[in-house]
């Protein structure tokens, strides 16, 4: 006997992601899912963001890594609440992991939650977390062809940050080709060219984040 099901395989994850979203909304928290390959600069971007905003905005951080608490220790030094998730081999965060992390954060004292996903350009794309924005950090040394090689993640991101712009003069990275590729598969993506090393372009990124926070606050009030 055949039974028709027609159900998304990750529907259990999606349901948990919706619960996370509702919990975040109930605390007026804007949550940003930061994805990238290993070494693109996710942690640097988070640290730079904390430095610029922590005097005015209450920030919380979730660090996702296969192992170690190195990133969480760096964030904790900045004096913001942070939870480290060690996935123990799993190549992405899922909604259940974020749900557990949220239980260990002082949600009433957070306006902006930065979630650093596991360094990987494939797997995190499939697993909704319940966050409000998807940010993909790409970097100049990775090459300008990455949008075509990892289209799933590039096509669903709200923002593409092109990091390590300070290395542009030293590498064969075609900016126009990168822009064309990103815009080709994802017309709505904003692209920020920046360098966490020199702080070039950081202000545009910060302005965008502040605009998202303002927008979220307007919706909730």
């Amino acid at each position: 006997m055949e039974i028709k099901v027609l159900k998304d395989i990750l529907s259990a994850n999606d349901k948990r992601a919706e619960e996370n979203r509702a919990l975040l909304n109930s605390h007026n928290i804007l949550a940003v899912n930061i994805m990238a390959s290993p070494g693109a600069g996710k942690t640097s971007l988070i640290l730079e963001t904390i430095n610029r905003l922590k005097m005015g905005i209450k920030i919380g951080v979730v660090e996702g890594d296969v192992s170690s608490s190195l990133d969480a220790e760096m964030v904790a030094k900045e004096g913001v609440p942070v939870v480290q998730i060690n996935t123990g081999g799993t190549c992405h965060l899922d909604a259940n992991m974020l749900s557990n992390a949220l239980c260990n954060l002082p949600l009433q004292d957070i306006d902006l939650l930065l979630v650093e996903n596991v360094g990987n350009l494939i797997c995190p794309a499939g697993f909704a977390l319940g966050t409000h924005r998807d940010v993909l950090v790409s970097s100049v040394p990775e090459g300008d062809d990455k949008p075509y090689k990892y289209p799933a993640m590039f096509s669903q991101s709200d923002v593409v940050v092109l990091n390590k712009m300070d290395l542009l003069p030293h590498l064969d990275f075609d900016r126009q080709a990168f822009f064309k590729a990103v815009k080709g598969i994802n017309g709505r993506a904003k692209i920020f060219e920046l360098s966490c090393k020199t702080a070039q372009g950081i202000q545009e990124w910060i302005s965008w984040l502040l605009a998202q926070l303002k927008h979220a606050l307007e919706i909730s009030t």
Binding site: M1, E2, I3, K4, V5, L6, K7, D8, I9, L10, S11, A12, N13, T90, C91, H92, D94, N120, I122, C123, A125, G126, F127, Y148, P151, A152, S155, K180, A181, K183, G184, I185, G187
Partner: protein, 113 residues
């Protein structure tokens, strides 16, 4: 690598549906997988073999229906299947596209007794 999580979720869904329908055994599982979801059939089979051991789905035949990535040109509306590195419209050469098919990842049906 994400196939382990995906296979676990799929097996949970299969067992849940089988139980709801009073099935004694699951003989077949029919999956629809978009090419953009980057799920590798062989990996799913590999994980399924050991995850399903001791359940009523042990030994079930997995069948995969692949959905090619289809895009729609924002300029002329033409829908076309994407080939690697050829992300331009086959009709007008437009470089801005929307992906309309290829992200699927669902359980279509199960065969039970």
């Amino acid at each position: 690598m994400h196939e382990l999580s995906i296979t676990k979720s799929m097996l949970d869904l299969v067992l849940d549906q089988a139980q709801k329908n009073g099935a004694k055994r699951v003989q077949g599982i029919n999956l629809v997988i978009g090419e953009m979801s980057a799920v590798v059939d062989d990996c799913v089979r590999f994980y399924f073999d050991f995850l399903s051991k001791g359940t009523i789905a042990e030994g079930a035949q997995l069948s995969f229906k692949a959905v090619p990535v289809t895009a729609r040109c924002q300029a002329c509306g033409e829908e076309f299947e994407l080939e690697e590195f050829n992300w331009v419209c086959s009709e007008c050469g437009g470089a801005r596209i929307d992906i309309v098919k290829g992200r699927e990842l669902y359980l279509e049906s199960i065969e039970v007794e």
